[in-house]
């Protein structure tokens, strides 16, 4: 488990980036927390810098968007999903469980 930040530091609509075995982006999408690989599967860009709308984040470089629940891209240019990770909140602190990475598709 990797400590991300306090819940207060991650208000709705915001994202933070933490470095684990790879950089991971943690999002607060209208109160629900999600964690995915931070680096877009298409080209080097940080998804934590992207545009968050509902349960999707749009890559800031080429506007492929990824579903934060499944990691799946909406379409080109990204071809592969990003990995997703469980998020846990304990005593007001946000953690990401990197051991339980969830590969999809």
């Amino acid at each position: 488990m990797i400590r991300v930040c306090t819940v207060i530091d991650l208000p709705p609509g915001e994202a933070v980036r933490v470095v684990a075995h790879v950089p991971i982006a943690v999002f607060n999408a209208e109160g629900e927390l999600y964690a995915v690989d931070d680096t877009c599967t298409h080209q080097d860009a940080s998804l934590a810098d992207g545009w968050l709308e509902d349960c999707r984040v749009e890559c800031p470089l080429h506007a492929s968007s990824f579903d934060l629940r499944t990691g799946l891209p909406s379409g080109p240019p990204a071809k592969r999903p990003v990995r997703t990770y469980p998020v846990v909140v304990l005593d007001g602190v946000v953690y990401v469980n990197t051991e339980a990475q969830q590969d999809v598709a």
Partner: protein, 378 residues
């Protein structure tokens, strides 16, 4: 339509083929590509591929199974030499003729060349240039401080070469990004020990170097020209398809000839050529819809977007800078080489630019067409 020919197998051609299948075309699909390679991505050619940190395989625009799923007949290494628009016959360089009900023109651009210089457009160009950069050349002169020129200069610098960039305009990228931001882009060269000579032309290239119009000679072992590209329309001469600095199209990619649409760098939509990666992909879906409908049912009106990676700085831009009143910084400063700014005209955001600030860029691009924020964006 039973047969559709896509002429061009790069980004715009591939996205057109994908759009045809995605939009339900189940007839015969033929893709003609003059290069022998399967569709590959050009932007890395001046960056990671030239540097040697990305290989050929990483350039593939589509995975092999995705290419196979298109169920297309790929004719690679074959050029389209001529189109007879009345019969929609495409005459190919291998002597064969292809008759199609619909034609997508996606032949891209051909780099302007100067004798004694290398250009960079194709994978083969990039391999040649990489061999030259790593083959003992010490002094490189880059003619043209546009994006290709700047990216080549940046990569060559990282490979340890002594680099000079010559630009005929007084400010690099001034026509694209405006004088203020263009000047900041120019400073990136100086930050990294690259010399920049602006406002002077090139008279000719001699074996010893580049002779400028003011008489100065820039010594060089290797000279690269990044001075733009012509639309590749030569093969359409006499076809009946109207040409004028590109294939003339309406705002849906529809040409003067029924059953023929054009996309990407070769196409001029509503008077403008959009020689950018994202435009090529977006145009393909619109043009294909109009081709299949037999008339213009969809227009492309999304603002032009491009990015450039040079000297470790990511530049992003969207919109336009024509006759803007002011550049307003929303985050950071040019001196930090990390900022986001909006171009304002008549109190409306018409463009957004950022250096190393994707976070603010992503948010500001949604402000296009609206009044600028008086306080910094969140």
């Amino acid at each position: 339509m039973r047969t559709i020919a896509v002429i061009g197998a790069s980004l715009a051609g591939l996205r057109s083929a994908e759009a045809l299948r995605a939009q339900g075309f189940d007839g015969r699909l033929v893709v003609i590509g003059d290069e022998p390679h399967e569709p590959y991505d050009r932007p890395p050619l001046s960056k990671d591929f030239l540097l040697g940190t990305a290989d050929r395989a990483s350039l593939a625009l589509a995975a092999p199974d995705a290419l196979a799923a298109l169920d297309a007949d790929w004719r690679l290494g074959v050029r389209a030499d001529r189109l007879d628009a009345a019969t929609r016959e495409v005459h190919l360089s291998d002597g064969s003729t292809l008759t199609a009900d619909g034609v997508v023109v996606a032949t891209g651009g051909e780099p302007r060349t100067l004798p004694g210089t290398l250009a960079l457009r194709t994978l083969d160009d990039a391999e040649r240039l990489r061999a030259a950069l790593t083959g003992g050349a010490r002094r490189l002169v880059v003619i043209g401080a546009g994006f290709i020129g700047a990216e080549v200069a940046s990569t060559a610098r990282r490979l340890g070469l002594d680099v000079t960039v010559v630009e005929v305009l007084p400010i690099p990228l001034g026509r694209v990004l405006g004088p203020e931001i263009g000047a900041v882009c120019g400073e990136l060269h100086l930050d990294h020990g690259v010399r920049l000579r602006c406002g002077v032309g090139v008279d000719h290239v001699s074996p010893s170097g580049v002779v400028l119009t003011d008489g100065e000679v820039l010594p060089a072992d290797l000279v690269v020209a990044g001075v733009g590209a012509h639309p590749a329309t030569g093969w359409l001469a006499g076809s009946g398809v109207a040409i004028g600095n590109g294939v003339l199209c309406d705002q849906g990619g529809v040409t003067s000839v029924p059953g023929v649409v054009a996309v990407g760098d070769v196409a001029r939509w509503s008077g403008q050529r959009h020689e950018h990666w994202t435009s090529a992909a977006e145009q393909a879906s619109v043009a294909v819809r109009n081709l299949l409908a037999g008339t213009t049912v969809e227009l492309h009106d999304r603002p032009g977007y491009f990015w450039s990676d040079q000297y470790g700085v990511r530049i992003q831009f969207i919109g336009e800078t024509h006759l803007y009143d002011e550049v307003r910084y929303v985050d950071g400063t040019p001196a930090d080489r990390k900022f986001a700014a909006v171009y304002v005209r008549d109190d409306v955001v018409v463009g957004v630019v950022a250096m190393n600030d994707a976070r603010h860029f992503t948010r500001l691009r949604r402000r296009l067409g609206t009044a600028p924020l008086s306080t910094p964006a969140p």
